[in-house]
Symmetry: C2
Subunit: 239 residues, 2 copies
């Protein structure tokens, strides 16, 4: 029976791919590409390419960011149906993700609508914030501390969140940058943060102080990690 694969291919660095992901890529007859990337190509695809069969079939699917829930569901259902056609034809088909397929990824919106009669294999990957901690040599969480991952995409009571966790990863910080700054000041945590924009890329920027940083100066691909136990003791290996 053919298999639907969800494959985490790492954070962007071609070396951050697992052997399991490489073996899954070699097993694919069809690779799914987001419609939006038809021309520009995608990072995930460029990492995967060297492991894919030369005659791999490409399936372009649309995953629009729209607020119309019914329309979104309809598109997702249609995507799942297209994938099922390939599986019915005995073809292994794969969805590539940067980071981990089960952590804030579009992949789950395919799984949600796919019939349970098919075989599914998900290959986990390293998420961007996990990579960020290793890249800068500081712990995400240790001992009996807790870790919370929050996307500032939705409505969040940031102050309350800060009160309730030892370490917090704030993703999509540009969405509520002013609120985030205010909450960090109000809870006396302005010294306990690291903000990284374009982590691992050529235009990477690192900030330990965001007092004078304005919302409009912060790049969309930015993650702020708060360590209430302090970040100073971990700065020593950050070059």
């Amino acid at each position: 029976m053919a298999t639907f694969y969800g494959i985490g291919v790492g954070v962007g660095d071609p070396e951050m791919i697992t052997l399991k992901a490489i073996n899954a890529l070699k097993d694919l007859d069809v690779v799914i590409l987001p419609e939006a990337k038809k021309d520009e190509g995608s990072t995930a695809y460029s990492i995967a390419k060297e492991y894919l069969r030369e005659d791999i079939e490409e399936l372009f699917l649309e995953f629009p960011m729209i607020s119309d829930v019914e329309k979104k569901k309809k598109i997702r259902r249609a995507n799942a149906e297209k994938i099922e056609e390939y599986l019915e034809a005995g073809k292994n088909i794969g969805f590539l993700t940067i980071g981990d397929p089960m952590t804030f990824s579009t992949y789950v919106y395919v799984l949600e609508y796919l019939s349970d009669k098919y075989s599914v294999k998900t290959i986990p990957g390293v998420s961007s914030f996990v990579d960020m901690a290793s890249r800068f040599n500081f712990p995400l969480v240790m001992g009996d501390e807790s870790l919370k991952i929050i996307s500032l995409h939705g409505k969040v009571d940031i102050k309350k969140e800060i009160e309730n966790s030892d370490n917090i990863v704030f993703m999509k910080v540009t969405r509520s940058f002013d609120d985030l700054k205010a909450a960090l000041i109000a809870t006396n945590n302005m010294e306990n943060i690291i903000l990284v924009s374009n982590c691992g890329k050529e235009n990477q920027e690192v900030f330990f102080n965001i007092e004078n940083l304005q919302k409009e100066d912060v790049h969309y691909f930015s993650t702020l990690i708060l360590k209430k136990g302090g970040i100073n003791q971990w700065k020593k290996f950050i070059s």
Copy 2:
């Protein structure tokens, strides 16, 4: 200059290692092994072995689980000093971890005491709970939901935690299993969980219902994931 490496080698499955980890392993002159594993061997070492130089030097270090803080600090400092001796001699030396080196790992207790004059490279890995979600094909976190990681090693107000997060990974559940059960019942969340013991191993066990499960029946290596949005819709690909 020699480098101190922290290397995540995956969750136990030899295929779950990254190319970056493999390249780091090949670069090692010395590999650190926990003293406790001197006879039985460690999972991390058995995964790493095929990539290590045949004449690799083994350094056994003690990382005791003791409550005496001063004694613990002293041992950690001594471990860092031993590692520094190898670095001074121009040897690359590596600390292996199962999962991710920056997520609840002993590795950071070496970093903490290592002098900042040395070069440090940390290679991230997939954590056990990240692997668990992929293995059973359910999302850890999606859309504007939040995710919290809690080790029940310390004191935790479980009910409050459940109220404040959409998805929670509870690690070391045997420490407070009765409290965890009570909090899940009190918050009407008994239907929204998956408990996995010995994830990925031969003796793996999966529970969606823990009502009749007693503390003494739960294996030490067990993780419970609560999904307040429900787990039922994701059970379809769990075989």
